[in-house]
Amino acid sequence: MRRQVTVTVADSHAGDLADVVARLALAGLEVEQVLTAVGVITGSVEESQLAEIAALPGVAAVEEQTRFQLPPPDAEVQ
């Protein structure tokens, strides 16, 4: 099963994401966004590959994406 994930790049690699992106792609991450100002890569990966990409050099954390949902606009509390 594919998982939508965020990859937090370690401070040590935050200045140059290209190497980390390449390693993630090789390990099976389908890269969707490379966010250079915050040092984050988003994409999707097979669940079975999660542990492998989390262990790659330059990767500080891999987390499954959270879904955010506002209440409907006519709700009393927003």
């Binding site: 915050v38 994406q65 606009p73």
Partner: protein
Amino acid sequence: MESGEQDSQQEAQTTGRSVVVFADDARGDTAAITAALRSLAGAETDTISFRNLGVAVVAVDPAALTAAIATDGAPSGSIRAVEPERIMHAIAVEEPAAAARFADDDAFTWGLRATGVDATSATGCAIRVAILDTGLDAEHPDFAGRAITARSFVSRPTADDGQGHGTHCTGTACGPADPPQGRRYAIASQAEIFAGKVLDDSGAGTDASILAGIDWAITNGCHVISMSLGANVRTVSAVYETVGRRALAAGTLIVAAAGNNARRADGVLGFVGMPANSPSIMAVGAVDADLAVADFSAASNPVEGGRIDIAGPGVDVYSAWPLPRRTNTISGTSMATPHVAGIAALLSQQTGARAQALWDALVEGAQALDLPASDVGAGLVRAPD
């Protein structure tokens, strides 16, 4: 001493009697104290002894008593000090904040009155504020002529707000000082608006869209990012904590809604959710027009960073809404958050403070409330003069 006035003021606040403080050795030694007092003031003099304290009040002028000690010498070893007895007054107690009742009036919303925005000279001019939400109704007359940069990070091609929440939050933080209709509801009326649509028109979004919005705001040099969004997740997310820290390092302060998962009337205090529970992101709780914590406003969460940092007006908040409705009055920590973001822009303009220094300025400037810090943090956000 420079002025005799101060002297006479001090005299006026004393009784003419003396307070005698006995040495620690003599304290509790009734015989020694009695002997000392008799030898100094005479057996007939009115005295009140507080033996447990080692203090007595003697109906003799302090100057005369001091002179007697100097002359007699004998009991002075048992006496540590002679002071004039003073008249104390109860410290005047101002009406507690809880008695403050605010209400919308013709000129301002209650929230602007309560936070001092009604009296500030700051406008947020040249400060860039990003509101990451459902977008902005750019056709709204209240935003005519404003510097607006908008971008969509969801599947919709434009940042137009088909929901309303984003327009409402943008209105509070950065709307006009003098709207063409109705009372003023907006704070940083001359800030540059960066409207990032990170939630679609159904109000849904993902980390991917929100993080892309933060990245865009930082790249554009935004000083403040306002995020009236969250998920009911207790644990701190590594990505938001890291991103909040990198934002601060880049000069950007992120404020986020604490969450609406409390039901205080039912005894449910809730907890600060993600991403506001990140230590590097300022968590905003909500108070009502009586400056009581809102029923829905989440309390601090025991994880590191899970505390409420500050509170803002978040109940019955009037602000802009997409046409044709034009305005709407709604509640939530979502509404409290842009109050803090807008005031952050005012402070940033006025003091030059950025990032952590701006965070500190918000906390230091907050009005203390008679409420637990776990509910309102440093208190109610306060605009500079």
